[in-house]
């Protein structure tokens, strides 16, 4: 707003010409976003401080009672453990496989477009469909376990997402199957943006191909990696559709997530205020990822 140097005429400088029109055109969406996103985030925070934990609405202020209950809840602790497992498994699979696929596709191979399309296809499939398909693939007595048995691995018959405590690993496989193609596309775009001269210069300086990737390409792809981490990280916080379609909260909450817990607490147990506390916690958790992202975007623009 300090950009406009001088105010000529009647209106203040920042309200002249284009800016006025822009403001007029934007104000409906600013209003709607303000109400339906930030207004309701605020409302959810408010509900988390009242005592509405049954079917009867109750707006008695109870401060942090719901939050205290939440942080002492064993299910909540399971959720945090599950999100750590999910984030570790999902993000590493997406980033590593996505990068490897992008690198392979970048080798000027034949019919690259066909492979690109195949790899990115799962991203067009909804989370529910992915979950249902993988639930069948991971059924204990069919799907993948039949394949294992047929190649002589009769003793390797995992329970997949029904594994107590570690069922979340199985969910990350399905999630990564869906999301890897997208990360690959990000890396491919990044690789295409690296000028050929840089590789050539490194090669002339005597670097082998591993050294080129290690010291030139991977550092140059850091902005892409950063975006991929933010996107997969956000996905790790809000994951809901996959676990809903696969095993629900799983054995002793092995595949429970914050979003699923919030849904069941709110619409299954009618503990609306406790559900609002879970939702608010998820917002706070997302901010840890969004704020660094926005900050780096700004630095990027200012540069």
């Amino acid at each position: 707003m300090a950009a406009s140097p001088h105010a000529r005429g009647g209106r203040p400088g920042w309200l002249r010409g284009d800016r006025l029109i822009a403001l007029l055109v934007l104000s409906p969406s600013i209003f709607l976003v303000g109400l339906f996103i930030y207004g309701f985030i605020g409302w959810t925070f408010y509900i988390s401080t009242v005592d509405w934990n049954s079917v009867v609405e109750n707006y008695d202020f109870v401060g942090l009672k719901n939050w205290t209950r939440l942080v002492n809840d064993a299910r909540f602790h399971s959720d945090l453990r599950n999100h750590l497992i999910y984030a570790a498994g999902f993000m590493s699979q997406c980033l590593i496989l996505g990068f490897i696929l992008a690198t392979l596709l970048d080798q000027k191979i034949k019919s690259e477009a066909v492979f690109r399309t195949i790899f990115i296809f799962p991203f067009a499939v909804s989370g529910i469909v992915t979950g249902v398909a993988w639930r069948w693939l991971m059924h204990p007595s069919s799907g993948l376990n039949l394949i294992f048995a047929s190649i002589g691995l009769e003793n390797f018959q995992p329970a997949w997402f029904a594994t107590p405590r570690h069922g979340m690993w199985a969910v990350t496989i399905a999630a990564a199957w869906q999301f890897t193609g997208y990360v690959m596309a990000l890396y491919l775009a990044g690789l295409r943006g690296i000028p050929a001269e840089l590789r050539e210069a490194a090669a002339i300086d005597g670097a082998g191909s591993i050294a080129i990737y290690r010291y030139v390409i991977i550092p140059l792809l850091m902005p892409v990696t950063f975006i991929a981490i933010v996107l997969t990280g956000m996905n790790s916080i809000r994951v809901f559709d996959l676990v809903t379609a696969m095993g629900g909260s799983g054995p002793a909450f092995a595949t429970d997530t914050l979003a699923y817990n919030m849904y069941q607490t709110t619409f299954g147990s009618y503990r609306f205020s406790l559900g609002a506390a879970i939702a608010s916690f998820m917002i706070l958790l997302s901010m840890f990822l969004v704020i660094p992202y926005l900050r780096s975007m700004r630095q990027e623009i200012e540069r």
């Binding site: 049954s54 079917v55 009867v56 064993a74 299910r75 059924h139 204990p140 007595s141 329970a159 997949w160 029904a162 107590p164 095993g247 629900g248 909260s249 054995p251 002793a252 909450f253 092995a254 849904y263 069941q264 619409f267 299954g268 147990s269 009618y270 503990r271």
Partner: protein, 449 residues
């Protein structure tokens, strides 16, 4: 004459035609009575009388009935309704799955109810499930008038009406009675290890289970991936250990969930896992019932009598039944019912549907297929099979106790916590931890306050 917005084009054309004919005959002033003549005639009279409007539009019914015998039974009930009201379009909104029986449907229903867009009627377990979820929240209409009009007070047992009532009003119409404490068993497998009769006590049960295991057979079939099987089995074990009086006391605060008898029941439940199918945590109950006729399947299943409907639907009859060990003479009751939400978009259609649910024709069409027994005491006995006739007799003579797992005894939030506690036992086999979870859940539910 404005046609109803939901009216189908054919009906609209018929109405137009009938309207023109009526004008031509200069008979406009004579109101057409409901049921007099064709459906076109009644529709044409929609400007003249209230009655005609009831037979148009649609009827949206929520349920969690989506598998084999359930769907057939529901369709039979719809057929009874449609025979009376052929012009009403029935929208069958059925949704399966979720923790606690019908969990997904209940969650969707809750969002619709809170959003002020209720369906016309919905399946709900008779008793606390409906009362705590929707009656106390003031989202249902009482059914005193309907009960009086249809004479339900004379045909439903008073015990059942008491379960359906809150604040002196009945809130839903029971369509069936299910019994939850049934042990389904394979006589051939039991005989193979020297048992000519099903186990009557839990000591006998474990003796039998060990002998079956020694022969390489799965004793008990369980499907717990949705966290419902352990809770289902546990309510019968609780009843066996505590007896009907103390069992009821668990929900009015007179018996604590930290009681030593609850510990004993949890220990029994934990022991049953030893000889259950090893994939019990990854399969659904339906898988277990489907495998029951095979050699690899379990020798016994603890399930409600809907398992009977499922087994009948696949044409299998090599099984028999007995009360769960220790619950002879006790009838763990649950009942599916339908209620009337406030603001139901097609209220008259919904009321007519409730009439069909409570009618002799409706109950006698629905229950033989569903594998349940009618809530009415005047049902046609010739329609029911051997198991159902036994259940009808037991329903009349046994001590009735409400089911936890199936929503009759407690509110929905306790049921979910109860399922999580028993599921925790199924996974971790830690009796003390599971009991602590139950105690916390009971405190939260504030039983007896």
């Amino acid at each position: 004459m404005q046609p109803h917005s939901l009216m189908k084009r054919r009906q609209f054309l018929q109405a137009m035609g009938a309207g023109i004919a009526a004008s031509a005959l200069a008979a406009c002033a004579v109101p057409v009575e409901q049921g007099a003549g064709t459906s076109a005639g009644t529709t044409a009279g929609s400007d003249a009388g209230e009655g005609a409007a009831t037979d148009a539009g649609s009827l949206e019914i929520f349920s969690w009935w989506t598998t084999g015998g359930e769907v057939e039974a529901l369709n039979a009930l719809y057929a009874v309704y449609s025979a009376e009201h052929p012009d009403v379009e029935i929208i069958n909104a059925a949704l399966a799955g979720g923790a606690g029986q019908g969990g997904n449907m209940k969650a969707l229903l809750e969002t619709r109810m809170l959003g002020g867009e209720p369906p016309d009627s919905f399946q709900v377990h008779l008793g606390r499930e409906l009362i705590d979820s929707h009656v106390i929240g003031d989202r249902m209409d009482p059914l005193d008038e309907l009960y009086a009009e249809e004479g339900f007070g004379d045909v439903f047992p008073q015990d059942l009406i008491d379960i359906a009532s809150y604040d002196g009003h009945p809130w839903s119409v029971p369509v069936n009675i299910h019994r939850s404490n049934i042990l389904w068993y394979r006589p051939d497998k039991l005989e193979a290890v020297g048992f000519d009769a099903p186990p009557a006590t839990w000591d006998e049960y474990f003796d039998l289970a060990d002998r079956l295991a020694a022969e390489g057979m799965v004793a008990l079939g369980m499907g717990d991936v949705n966290q419902t099987q352990s809770g289902h089995n546990f309510e019968s074990i609780l009843l066996a250990v505590l007896g009907p009086e103390a069992y009821r006391g668990l929900f009015d605060g007179s018996v604590g969930w930290d009681d030593a008898r609850v510990t004993e029941a949890l220990e029994i439940l934990s022991r049953t896992y030893d000889n259950a199918n090893p994939d019990r945590l990854s399969v659904v109950n339906g898988d277990v019932v489907s495998a029951f006729p095979t050699d690899e399947g379990a020798a016994m299943i603890i399930s409600g009598d809907w398992a009977h409907g499922q087994l009948k639907a696949i044409g299998y009859d090599g099984y028999h039944w007995a009360p769960v060990p220790g619950t002879e003479g006790m009838f763990m009751v649950l009942s599916d019912s339908f209620g009337l939400p406030q603001g139901a978009p097609n209220r008259e259609n919904a009321l007519n549907f409730l009439r069909a649910c409570g009618s002799k024709e409706g109950q006698d069409a629905f229950n033989p297929i569903k594998g349940s027994i009618p809530a009415r005491t005047d049902a046609d006995q010739s329609l029911y099979d051997e198991y159902q006739l036994e259940a009808i007799a037991d329903f009349g003579s046994n001590t009735l106790v409400p089911s936890i797992q199936h929503g009759a005894a407690t509110k929905q939030s306790f049921l979910l916590d109860y399922d999580f506690a028993t599921n925790d036992l199924a996974v971790n086999r830690d009796v003390a931890q599971a009991q602590a979870m139950l105690v916390t859940a009971a405190e939260d539910a504030a039983f007896g306050q």
